[in-house]
Amino acid sequence: MAQRYQNIVIGGGHNGLTCAAGLARAGQSVLVLEAAEDIGGAARTREFAPGARVSACAHLLHAMPADLAVELDLAGNGLDYAAQDMRTVSLSESGETIVLHGSTAQGKAVSEADAAAYARFNEDMQRFAKALRPVFEDIAPELSIETWRQRLTLLGLGLRVRRLGRFHMRELLRIIGMNLYDLLDEYFESTQLKGAIAMDALLGGEWGARSMGSVLTYLYRVAGYQRNGGIGVALPKGGMGAVSGALVGAARAAGAEIRTGARVTQILVENDRAAGVELDSGERLDADCVISNADPKQTFLKLVSVDHLDTGFVRQIKNLRSSGKAAKLHLLLEGAPRFKGVEESGLGSRLIIAPGMDEIELAFNPSKYREYPAAPVLEITVPSASDSSLAPQGQHVVSAVVQYVPYDDSPDEDANRAAFLETVLDQLERYAPGIRGQVLAAELLTPRDIEREFGISGGHWHHVELVFESFLFNRPIPALAQHQAPIAGLYLCGAGCHPGGNVMGIAGRNAAQQVLKGGH
């Protein structure tokens, strides 16, 4: 008879691995089943052209809790950084750059008033993100006041906010539901500065600077910086796959088993309990608990038979917003790119093309109607500038997030992708003249490609849109906010859970905690 596991984790994304490590460290048997041949999900390094390796999806590490990295000894398991505390450089066609670092903003376009405002803005946002820390890290409280524990959790949260003092509390309550466009207008003059700041809040989502809740996603980002142990924005050595590699090491060391090339086709339910899984090979594996790292839509609309789910639940899952808007561009260049206003020594920075908030909105608009932007906004890294192992000698790789690319499942998908790659290269050419001529290989992954390659419904950065109505006790839906599904023994541990996406492992860690608490 086949071995029975206490836990099966569906998906070896970084959250699945974190969850598996947590369970294994608590002495439980765990089997991770990953569909892809390679582990790590959207936190993976791969070769896209001979000798050219990039972080295939996520490329910058900035939100992982320092204590998690220590707990799982990620350093001991091989995680190192090629760059830390990277500067953010906002590019311009004229070559006038703005450099953001810590609480300073520098550049010709930054007035004295703006520089002072940036320091103040930073201080304010740090304060608010800190007050909301449990909101961004802990298991979501239940929206219920039936038990004392529930009441205390909600009360505690209220108290933290209250402790900001009357002035700051009011300010937080004023801005929390606001859009970033208006907020940044209150602080700053410089168009370019506002564009650069806004990008932090907008990457990955189907929302723009003017969208409600963009202040919340900005604070979400700031909270990540606060907990990451001072690495700021970092490039893992060897690409994002190194994070997953270290997590694999931690999980295996604790006794977890990991299988790749094992696609789960069904979550088995017996007597209203998760009983195991079935693989595409037909193999059946039994477990007391099944924890899904796959996104909620895939988990509940594809892997669980609808016979076991209630209509209202299914309706909510189906209505989840999960249309990805971030594409990924990978280039192999014959030499170092020459961005206007950036020295070669500055290539280790995080480069932003977002001339202003209006330009961001203009790039967002067409994507709402499944069209491609004419002047895309980008977050660019040249990882080979800090990590020579990624590209052949003398050559460079570029890894860029192209924001506001529609999920395109039209018959013209291939032609559209090819045409849009030209648009993106044209845009780059404006900021880095000559870059087109340097391209040896290029790859553009649209949200649809990301869905295919990484198994994420809609190819969404956060699995499920990170918006107010899908946050905290509503993430992804109220019935799943504490990781536990209505079916006993079935849990969710991926980015679709509270608190959301990014490479940080929080959802995985919290899910493990819930599984352990839930008992078997």
């Binding site: 209203d272 609309l301 038979s305 609808v306 016979d307 076991h308 789910l309 209630d310 209509t311 209202g312 639940f313 299914v314 309706r315 189906k318 019935a479 209505p486």
Partner: protein, 404 residues
């Protein structure tokens, strides 16, 4: 997935309140213009005298126009799984040619509505209910290979109820109808056109429901009334039907409970257990909508329950509040439907009563307001929990029924 009928595609402005396919046939019987709108149709509270209409069903035969009942046809390879997940009963046990009264709940185990499930074959069902449910039915279809169509306007229905109903249907030429058992259905031919007959009804009496393509409605009505005329067959309206269903102890959406999809106030939703319909809930059949919530509710115990009341004296207790003592200090429930029962000569009511009073062991009082010669008087009457159905004659289930 939804095949709309032609009527639904006409712009709303062109379809004011509809007349049922039988309306032309019985129009000449309407004597008092007491109309009522029901799901978009003109229906009648009574044709002439509700007392006579009531007694027609208890003594001879009364006919009620069922056309406004909402009817959904559900078919496809997954139809059985779909239905079994939708309703609280085990649909697998409802064999083809049977009908099952059932409930369906939301995720919280609160009742959306009750209705009848007709099973025509392995993969074909019809759901009949009083209110429109298409959005819930369509959402419930996510993940199933089923087709759902609203056939409300395509199918005309008549309830033929009362001790002589079987005799009349036999006269109409429905040979062998006497063999039809309660909740069975059978197809008959009427001048070469198919009529489906189910032994179902809402009166607690012997009775049948006849279903036919809307375009043949007139023919059906004429044959029925020609055959029934010597027996005093008569059309009945909703007032008489309401009296009949209260005697039969049958609840009605909108009176005993609100659909949980429509409530806005906290605590207005009802579980099947609160409605006293435990027997309709099969917690052992596997998962269905609301099952987990219902399991939890069962462990928690009941706070209130729908019961039958017998109230002293003869003043109908409409809307009466129920108290634990004559001084009306503590309210323990309220009446949802009340009737001075003409057959039982008893003052009966359906009422929601709190625990533990619904067990029927403690004293209870009904507060009844009487309007007498333009003045209100408030009276307290003793009442007690009594068996439901209040009235259930043997002929209701007797097969074959007595030939009259």
């Amino acid at each position: 997935m939804i095949a709309d009928t032609q009527n639904n595609q006409r712009p709303l402005t062109e379809r004011p309140i509809l007349e049922t396919p039988f309306f032309e046939s019985y129009k000449h019987l309407i004597q008092n213009d007491r109309y009522q709108e029901w799901s978009g149709y003109t229906t009648l509270e009574s044709f002439a005298c509700e007392g006579q209409e009531y007694f027609a069903v208890r003594n001879t035969c009364g006919v009620y126009d069922l056309c406004p009942m909402i009817k959904y046809d559900i078919s496809g390879p997954d139809a059985e799984r779909y239905m079994n997940r939708l309703v609280t009963r085990d649909v697998r046990k409802v064999v083809p040619k049977r009908v099952a009264y059932s409930l369906w709940c939301d995720d919280n185990g609160h009742v959306i509505e009750d209705g009848t499930v007709f099973r025509f074959s392995a993969n074909q069902f019809r759901l009949c209910c009083a209110e429109r449910q298409i959005d819930w039915l369509m959402d419930s279809a996510i993940g199933y290979d089923v087709a759902i169509s609203d056939v409300t306007e395509d199918i005309a229905g008549l309830a033929v109820q009362g001790p002589i109903s079987c005799t009349i249907l036999k006269k109409m030429g429905f040979a062998g109808i006497e063999a039809l058992k309660p909740f069975q259905l059978q197809h008959f031919s009427l001048d070469g056109c198919e009529v489906m007959v189910s032994r179902t009804g809402f009166t607690g009496d012997l009775g049948y429901e006849l279903w036919i393509g809307a375009e043949r409605a007139k023919k059906l009505w004429e044959s029925l009334f020609a055959a029934g005329q010597p027996y005093g067959i008569r059309m009945i309206g909703s007032t008489a039907l309401d009296m009949l269903r209260i005697e039969a102890g049958l609840m009605q959406v909108g009176d005993e409970f609100m659909s949980c999809l429509q409530t806005v106030r906290l605590g207005r939703d009802r579980t099947p257990f609160e409605l006293g319909l435990d027997w309709l809930v099969d917690l052992e059949k596997g998962h269905f909508n609301g099952r987990r919530a219902l399991l939890a509710a069962r462990t928690k115990g009941l706070k209130r329950k729908l019961v039958g009341l017998d109230i002293d004296w003869n003043k109908q207790a409409d809307g009466a509040l129920i108290y634990s003592s004559e001084d009306a200090k503590r309210q323990i429930g309220e009446v949802t439907s009340a009737l001075w029962s003409p057959t039982l000569k008893q003052n009966i009511a359906l009422a929601f009563i709190d625990a533990p009073w619904f067990e029927g062991e403690q004293e209870m009082w009904a507060e009844i307001y009487l309007h007498r010669e333009c003045m209100w008087e408030r009276k307290m009457f003793r009442c007690r929990v009594t068996r439901k159905p209040f009235y259930s004659p043997e002929r209701r289930t007797l097969t074959p029924p007595n030939d009259m």
